[in-house]
């Protein structure tokens, strides 16, 4: 398997990893209305947590526990849960735009900690030589990628199934109630603060899971992976796909990442060689333009939120 098929497998691994992040953001923003602008921070905690637990022992580093990959990912997720709990307790009383600013700042801080806490994260050098799970069992990189796509697809499917089950439960209706009218929810004897915290932690843990899967695939992690642009990309995926809809989250992740990645391929194909050094700028403009056009023609995203009306209403 080579050529476009091999690339497509590779592409889908990354896109589906992002789809898990987008679903995490969707439960926060799409269902509950929590404006988390620090997505990349929790993605980073999951990635670093996994990398530190799975990595080989090195003299100059604190970490390097050499744990099996699934345990390391679980550890990364646990770390994410803890971080989200602390951040959530501190910030969730803030309303939308204030919460956005606070979480954005926290994500930058997390990236700066990764950049500067050299003995734990390797600093700007990053953590190298991380083992890729079961890599030795496969003869060809294509075979391995196919296997890893399976892993990521199963994880994304599980997350989708779990979230769909959750949002259809009474707890899921509570999320929308909190989003639409917190006072009304409180008047019915619910505790919105607690719901917001639960959802925040849940969403961030999913981002951490994706971070762990990313590390397993790339085998390397550095602070450059966690620039604020990634938060923007994730948000673009959710908005374009359709927030408040988990299928929209997946479609958005795949679609926007396709646009981001494949526009470069298209430009390198169709642009005369002499203009190649301008191709990068054209690509960025094209990405922006297509996102704007999508939103003009599909303001609720490609697949918007399904209307939910009480079965008793006529």
């Amino acid at each position: 398997m080579t050529g476009f098929a091999a690339y497509l497998v590779f592409f889908l691994i990354v896109a589906l990893t992002y789809s898990i992040v987008v679903m995490g953001l969707n439960i926060q923003w799409g269902y509950t209305g929590l404006f988390n602008a620090g997505v990349v921070g929790f993605f980073a905690i999951g990635a670093y947590g996994t990398a530190i637990l799975v990595g080989p022992d090195r003299a100059h580093l604190i970490g390097g526990f050499g744990l099996p990959f699934p345990l390391a990912v679980l550890g990364g997720m646990a770390l994410c849960a803890l971080a989200a709990l602390i951040v959530g307790l501190a910030t969730l009383r803030l309303r939308e735009e204030y919460l956005a600013i606070a979480t954005f700042g926290i994500a930058i801080s997390i990236q700066l900690v990764a950049l500067n806490f050299e003995s734990l994260t390797g600093g700007a050098q990053g953590l190298v030589g991380l083992p890729r799970p079961l890599f030795g069992l496969f003869d060809s990189p294509a075979g391995y990628n196919l296997f890893y796509l399976g892993v990521v697809a199963v994880m994304a499917g599980l997350v989708y199934w779990a979230l769909e089950t959750a949002v259809r439960s009474p707890w899921g209706r509570l999320l929308k109630a909190v989003r639409e009218d917190e006072t009304a929810a409180r008047s019915l004897g619910r505790n919105p603060a607690r719901v917001r915290l639960e959802v925040f932690v849940l969403g961030c843990v999913l981002m951490g899971l994706a971070g762990g899967l990313y590390v397993g695939f790339i085998g390397y992690v550095s602070p450059l992976d966690f620039l604020p642009i990634l938060t923007f990309q994730i948000w673009a995926m959710l908005i374009v796909g359709g927030s408040g809809n988990n299928r929209g989250a997946i479609v958005g992740a795949v679609g926007v990442w396709a646009l981001w990645a494949m526009s470069g391929l298209a430009i390198s194909r169709f642009l005369p060689v002499a203009y190649q050094s301008q191709g990068g700028a054209i690509q960025v403009i094209l990405i922006g333009l297509l996102i704007v056009l999508t939103l003009i023609f599909r303001p609720r995203g490609l697949i918007g939120e399904a209307e939910s009306v009480s079965k008793h209403a006529d």
Binding site: G123, I218, S222, Q276
Partner: protein
């Protein structure tokens, strides 16, 4: 809507695979490159791409590789690893490149190496990634020999700069560095070396890129009243730091990292403030090979090749193509195994430019050994894919960048030995 997207993607796939088979019939060899054309390295990225393209143009002028025309495909990584990795993967899988030139930042080159080029057995040659982690990875066997870089690592650079600082009699030096793998590693090595030579390093202050002002960092570094500043930066941010440093009364004894050897930096700081400054860069040792590159750059671009990464990028491309010619096939593993056959050694020297490559092709056809002496002078790769090379010391004279001194390999090694 979803099915529309799916069919659109499949359509694109058909078009792409059609284009790939058409190319093979014309006998074209694709050489891929991933560089930062936009993003934080944009100021230097596209010129570096031009340097790579120049080498490929020269080779095509000389008749191509193994009779095939070489097609240079440049992709942008936007300064992000995720975009860079994806671009590299398309180059390897769809364009079928046997060799990948890039990336600029180590944080982009490394994930490409571990997740794309090494698994696909494609040789990767970087012009500009200086992080020591590549050497570490190569020692552990993680690169399987597919990794090369044409710029020397920062170990000798720090040693030479510290030795000169000691010769100049600086007693207290402050360090301000860009907080990246490149900056951290060069700054800490310089501190270690300077301290061994009896110089007090008053502080090592990192700065984060692309800020409007670095007053806080500059003030922190000024506190201890150092008599010189070692600045590790890229041109745009570096100019901001240097301007603020001088306007707050900092010493004009500046020590500059290699990336600051750019006209842009001198112009925006002001040449009159840089007369006491010196910096290091990979030497274009005097001689025909360097002149050959400089002249052909001037012919093509109409300006002098002043800027980080140009000479090293040309050499990265040239080494790849010569190895391909020597191997007789465009295959990643064959390129890896032939790179050391066309560099170092005792063969006939080959200089940059179409004439040089023509000569190389004739000699290779006759089965005679060649030795590429590139835009950065002679090149020898060690077992980890690193080069050690000669250096030049640059400064500003009469308002322009000028070469003040040259350090050949023997002198560099003597300085390194003293610091062991």
């Amino acid at each position: 809507m979803k099915s529309m997207i799916a069919s659109g993607l499949m359509g694109a796939g058909l078009v792409l695979s059609g284009a790939a088979s058409a190319q093979a019939q014309d006998c074209k060899i694709a050489v891929g490159s991933v560089l930062s054309i936009t993003g934080s390295m944009a100021a230097i990225g596209s010129a570096i791409g031009d340097a790579g393209k120049l080498a490929i143009d020269h080779f095509n002028e000389a008749g191509g590789v193994n009779g095939c025309e070489v097609n240079f495909i440049l992709r942008d990584d936007q300064g992000s690893p995720n975009v860079g990795v994806d671009a590299a993967k398309t180059l390897v899988e769809i364009e079928k490149v046997p060799v990948l030139l890039g990336a600029i930042q180590s944080g982009v080159s490394l994930p490409i190496l571990t997740s794309v080029t090494v698994p696909a057995k494609v040789t990767q040659i970087s012009c500009c990634s200086s992080a020591p982690s590549f050497t570490e990875l190569a020692r552990e066997g993680g690169t399987q020999g597919y990794w090369f870089r044409t710029l020397p690592t920062d170990r000798p650079q720090a040693a030479v700069l510290a030795t000169i600082a000691a010769e100049k009699g600086y007693k207290k030096i402050a360090v301000i560095h860009v907080n990246s793998d490149y900056g951290v590693s060069l700054a800490t090595r310089f501190r270690d070396d300077a301290e061994k030579l009896g110089i007090e390093v008053t502080g090592v202050t990192p700065y984060n890129q692309e800020q409007a002002s670095y007053r806080a960092e500059v003030n922190a570094a000024l506190q201890a009243e150092p008599d010189a500043l070692f600045l590790v930066a890229f041109p745009a941010d570096g100019a901001t730091v240097a301007r603020e440093w001088i306007s707050f009364g900092g010493s004009q004894n500046l020590i500059l990292s290699n990336a600051l050897r750019a006209d842009e930096f001198v112009e925006s700081v002001g040449a009159q403030y840089l007369e006491n400054a010196y910096g290091i860069d990979n030497a274009q040792v005097e001689g025909e090979s360097v002149e050959a590159f400089n002249t052909s750059w001037k012919d093509a671009k109409g300006s002098d090749p002043n800027g980080p990464g140009l000479h090293v990028m040309y050499d990265a491309a040239a080494v790849a193509l010569l190895a391909m010619e020597q191997a007789g096939e465009a295959d990643g593993t064959a390129i890896r195994d032939n790179i050391r056959k066309v560099t170092g050694g005792e063969g006939e020297p080959i200089y940059p430019g179409a004439e040089g490559f023509k000569k190389a092709k004739t000699l290779i056809a006759e089965g005679k050994p060649i030795r590429y002496v590139g835009a950065t002078g002679p090149i020898t790769f060690d077992e980890n894919g690193d080069v050690t090379g000669p250096y030049l010391i640059y400064g500003v004279k009469d308002g322009e960048l000028a070469t003040l001194d040259r350090w050949d390999k023997a002198r560099v090694e003597a300085a390194l030995e003293k610091l062991q």
